[in-house]
């Protein structure tokens, strides 16, 4: 009788523990962080490799023994590029999974609501792409980014394309979005300041046949065309521009654009000549030990997407996360993690041109950008400039 009672008591305790969602013992075993991104929506092809790069870093880190003997657990959720799903996932991760901070995120439309919700409950959010300016000085609390902000990218591209041709007419192309227009505006400012001419073609977001838009761009007689959009648009625009008869320089702004996309676009266009690429992070073809480390991890653990600069981007975020958690120590709390991230400086090796460096009131820091050229013969990306530095100040 007593045995039966004890058994029932144990069963009840087990069920109660299960219903509680997680046990304190589990929470103490590892650093738990969240990652939200678009793995099934329209931009999944851009965001998946970035997640894979982050995952590779965490796998390698855990295989090395984790941080001070504690593993890092990542709770992954797919937002499908929908703001409501991203917010629901963030709430789930903070309330049920009890994560210390949230990493990744997809488009600006999902970032804004997640930043805002997490701010209310004091959870640091560190994005890999940034369509909004929350992380830029004066930064909103708990808001950080190690990714691409369109305004900053527009400036960097405006400066770097002077390496292709000084002066001349630049035609900027983008989708009809806030981020795209912001990138164009900053690109334009730098082009005009350098004595060049500017024109632009903006097309609807859902466009997938770019032929008339490419013809419109070509009709403006550009010396350089710059495309401010993601992988899919480049896959369509590059062949359409070449079909329209434009053979001049085309610059890919690296907003989640993989090298594989450029290879495919070049193949479709019939030539990879005169295709350039501006990136915040190193290309997958860069010959340096840091990129080689990412490539080795990709070979070891495997990824669903071909190795690209987006894996490098995700890996860099992983490196940033490790340093933040390491400095946070054990046990780490959300408040403590946030305080650490506010002034965190992480050496990126050769993953980009300098460290990722946050200071109080600046959740983005200086960024480094580089111009690459596609080598049509070897089907590889080659650096065409050194890294140029852009401060995050002056964008608000």
């Amino acid at each position: 009788m007593q045995k039966k009672f004890v058994f029932r008591g144990l069963a009840a305790a087990t069920i109660a523990a299960c219903l509680a969602g997680f046990s304190p013992a589990q929470a103490q075993d590892a650093y738990k962080i969240g990652y939200i991104t678009d793995l099934s929506g329209p931009l999944a092809s851009s965001y998946t490799p970035t997640w894979e790069g982050f995952e590779l870093y965490i796998k390698a880190l855990n295989d090395r023994g984790g941080i001070g003997g504690k593993k890092v657990d990542v709770v992954l959720d797919d937002d499908g590029l929908k703001a409501d799903r991203a917010v629901a996932a963030a709430k789930k991760q903070t309330e049920r999974d009890n994560v210390l901070g949230i990493f990744g995120l997809s488009l600006s439309s999902t970032q804004g609501p997640v930043y805002a919700e997490m701010r209310k409950i004091g959870v640091p959010v560190i994005t890999t792409f940034s369509g909004i300016l929350d992380a830029l000085p004066p930064a909103q609390p708990f808001s950080y980014s190690t990714g691409v902000v369109f305004e900053v990218a527009g400036d960097a591209i405006g400066e770097l394309i002077q390496n292709i041709k000084k002066g001349g007419k630049v035609v900027g192309m983008t989708i009809d979005s806030v981020g795209g227009r912001a990138a164009l505006a900053h690109n334009k400012k730098l082009v005009l300041a350098a004595g060049g001419q500017w024109d632009e073609v903006i097309f609807p977001v859902a466009t997938s046949d770019f032929t008339p838009f490419a013809q419109a761009a070509n009709e403006k007689k550009p010396d350089i065309v710059v495309g401010h959009y993601g992988s899919g648009q480049n896959l369509g625009v590059i062949p359409a521009l070449r079909r329209s008869g434009y053979t001049g320089p085309y610059v890919v702004a690296s907003y989640g654009v993989t090298e594989d996309t450029i290879r495919a676009a070049a193949q479709r266009a019939g030539s990879g000549d005169n295709i350039f690429y501006v990136s915040r992070y190193s290309s997958a073809f860069d010959k340096n030990p840091s990129v080689a480390e990412v490539a080795a991890a990709q070979k070891k653990y495997g990824t669903s997407k071909p190795f690209s600069s987006m894996h490098v981007t995700g890996w860099a975020l992983g490196k940033f996360a490790e340093e933040a958690l390491k400095k946070c120590g054990w046990p780490c709390t959300r408040d403590k993690l946030d305080k650490i991230v506010q002034t965190l400086k992480v050496d990126m090796g050769g993953l980009t041109g300098g460290p990722i460096e946050m200071v109080a009131g600046d959740g983005y820091g200086p960024t480094y950008w580089r111009l690459y050229a596609w080598n049509a013969k070897s089907n590889e990306m080659e650096p065409k400039s050194g890294w140029v530095k852009r401060e995050a100040k002056g964008y608000k």
Binding site: S40, I202, A206, T207, S208, S231, S244
Partner: protein, 290 residues
């Protein structure tokens, strides 16, 4: 020349879509809101079939076979499992079913193909060089040739074959056709198969020129607009409607504002619907049925 070529190719894509919509409306009084999704899924199936056993190189023959099998099965399946059950119900029931099909097919793109942007790289080499350096690919030329072939085949089918005549009879008066021994279910299944085939062809040609993605399904709206502008029960109207939509889109990009290119066809639709609600070539008596 480049202008003419682009408008003609765009017209072909939309005309194939509009033709499918018209055939379904004529045969079963169904306005298909899933036509864009069917077209793009057809394109994805073409791609996947072609890549299935070829180690990275697309096999056009396997791709064509896959697309035909998909069209036959999908068309017959939609009719047998869904549309047949709503025969005799108010017209909006069938429309809602097609909206449901659209949602399921769009989800299939996400689940099966992970929403990948895919391009159909068959015949993409330049075939014709135009003045100014612009080029047309073999796929572009094929778009025009296959569309013309499709419409000629439709004409021959409806005019000279027994099944085609039965089809026309069913479209005219399904009850009478049924009483005269016409297998109405067979005819309606066939209508769905032909419509899916036309949509798939359109999706494949589109994937050769642009790319396939979840966003690409919006071409269905252009096809529907073309069908409505031309008249829902007129195949001739489908071609003219497609031309009007393609021309309007192109001129908007080049002369007005590229951002408005998606909205302008709908403006044309509103104008046509307010002046001739039955479309440019539709029959007036069909109006009360929509």
């Amino acid at each position: 020349m480049e202008f003419v070529a682009t408008v003609v190719i765009l017209t072909c894509t939309y005309a194939l879509l509009a033709a499918g919509i018209v055939i379904l409306y004529k045969a079963g009084r169904v306005v298909n809101f899933a036509h864009g999704e069917i077209a793009i899924v057809g394109g994805y199936v073409f791609y996947s079939s072609g890549m299935m056993f070829s180690g990275g190189e697309m096999s056009p023959w396997l791709a064509v076979l896959g697309a035909i099998v998909f069209s036959v099965i999908m068309g017959a399946f939609i009719y047998a499992t869904m549309m047949r059950r709503v025969v005799g119900e108010p017209f909006y029931v069938a429309i809602l079913v097609t909206v449901g099909i659209a949602i399921v097919l769009k989800s299939a793109i996400i689940v099966i193909w992970r929403a990948q942007h895919l391009t159909i790289d068959v015949g993409i080499a330049p075939a014709i060089r135009l003045a100014g350096g612009a080029t047309l690919s073999y796929m572009d030329v094929a778009s025009v040739a296959l569309t013309i072939a499709f419409f000629i085949a439709l004409y021959l089918f409806f005019t000279f074959t027994r099944l085609g005549v039965q089809f026309r009879g069913t479209a005219e008066n399904p009850l009478l056709a049924s009483q005269r021994g016409v297998n109405v279910n067979l005819v309606l299944s066939l209508a769905w198969i032909i419509a899916v085939l036309a949509a798939t062809l359109s999706g494949v040609l589109y994937g050769g020129r642009a790319f396939l993605s979840t966003e690409s399904v919006t071409i269905g709206l252009a096809g529907l607009t073309a069908a409505l502008v031309g008249g829902l029960d007129s195949l001739r109207g489908a071609v003219i409607g497609a031309f009007v939509v393609a021309l309007a889109q192109y001129l908007t990009v080049r002369l007005i504002d590229p951002v408005l290119s998606e909205a302008l066809p709908f403006l044309i639709l509103l104008v046509v619907m307010s002046i001739r609600p039955w479309g440019l070539f539709g029959t007036v008596e069909e109006l009360d049925r929509v």
